[in-house]
Amino acid sequence: MLRFFMIFLAVMAALFTLELLPVGQRYFVQPLTAALADASAFFIALFGRELIVDGDIIIDAATGFAAQIAAGCNGIEAMILLTAAIVAFPAPWRYKLWGIVLGAIGIQALNLVRIVSLFYLGLWHKEAFEWAHLYIWQALIMLDTLLVWMVWIRYLPRQPNNQEPPADAVTA
């Protein structure tokens, strides 16, 4: 357990610091957020809205309502947490890499739903938007991350008893 938490915290701290550094912002956060804005705009437009996308800002042409995909809304922190939890868990690296890739896709898929739903909520009711934005969707993304991690554990291969690695990870 202690080993798991130490690795989890170390990886999480390293990735979070990297996220905040200019190099992380320029080569990962900004491109991912812009791509997320484009993808969100695509799905919002499917429901008949005319939009203008400017970097990480989505603007509704008819009403002028604008939503910015800021830090905390791009799902990167959830991806960092998932990555740290997967890396810290004793498992073959091949499974870890698959878990990180598929988990990131799972998180960003729900994040797209979050952004699209928040955009429509913002058009409709400001207070409902604030509530959903600040509290409800934060909780759902957190639960999604936890669920993805637990599903990943379930799909790990069973090992012979004498090679069972999680013993020290959970009971030490």
Binding site: L143, L146, R158, P166
Partner: protein, 199 residues
């Protein structure tokens, strides 16, 4: 010690979490004044440890907390000088309370413990205090103008540390805190999940 059920259903567990979630969100929102007391007082204490005498008093303002600081600011009409008051929304840090409650209440009866739930929620309070303290410092140093920021004698690495602590407290800590505490409070459940690995 009660033993957990043999077959743990992940989908069943998360379904129960989702059913509990609206109940605890409602409870948390209406009791938020109560949930704010300990983190508010702890953040006042922590802020004054980090910068002696910064917070003179805290007051409850609905679901927000007002920090009356010792810093001075010119009134908008130029008529006089008053204390800088920073109003913060503690709910942006404490939304993990209903999530943790839902995660705890969704476990099988044999794994549930009232004492564990109370301890788990109490364990979140210091993390909320971190978030509030970091936001208080970030507000006076970066959002109230140079006249206020200059009164707090911070520079260089201290400003970087405040910015980092604020980002960490807002973006990461609510999730890490709730997940870690859930993990520790529900070790039997996690062990069961791990034992069922590959099924």
């Amino acid at each position: 010690m009660p033993s957990p059920p043999e077959n743990f259903s992940l989908s069943g567990y998360f379904l129960r979490v989702l059913l509990w979630l609206p109940v605890f969100f409602a409870l948390w929102y209406f009791l938020s004044g109560f949930f704010n007391i300990v983190p508010g007082l702890a953040s006042q204490w922590l802020a004054n440890i980090l910068y002696n005498g910064l917070v003179v008093q805290i007051e409850s303002a609905g679901r927000h907390i007002e920090y009356i600081t010792s810093l001075k600011m010119q009134a908008a009409d130029g008529a006089g000088v008053g204390n800088v008051v920073v109003t913060l929304n503690p709910l942006i840090y404490s939304w993990n309370i209903p999530v943790l409650l839902a995660l705890c209440f969704a476990v099988h009866d044999s794994l549930f413990s009232n004492a564990r739930v109370v301890l788990a929620i109490a364990a979140l309070f210091p993390l909320h205090a971190w978030g509030l303290t970091a936001e208080l410092f970030a507000t006076v140093l970066f959002r109230q103008g140079t006249a206020v920021a200059e009164q707090v004698d911070y520079s260089g690495w201290q400003l970087e540390a405040v910015a980092m602590a604020y980002q960490f407290g807002y973006l990461m800590l609510p999730v890490i805190g709730a997940v870690s505490i859930w993990f520790l409070a529900n070790r039997q459940l996690v062990e069961q999940l791990m034992a069922n690995k590959g099924r």
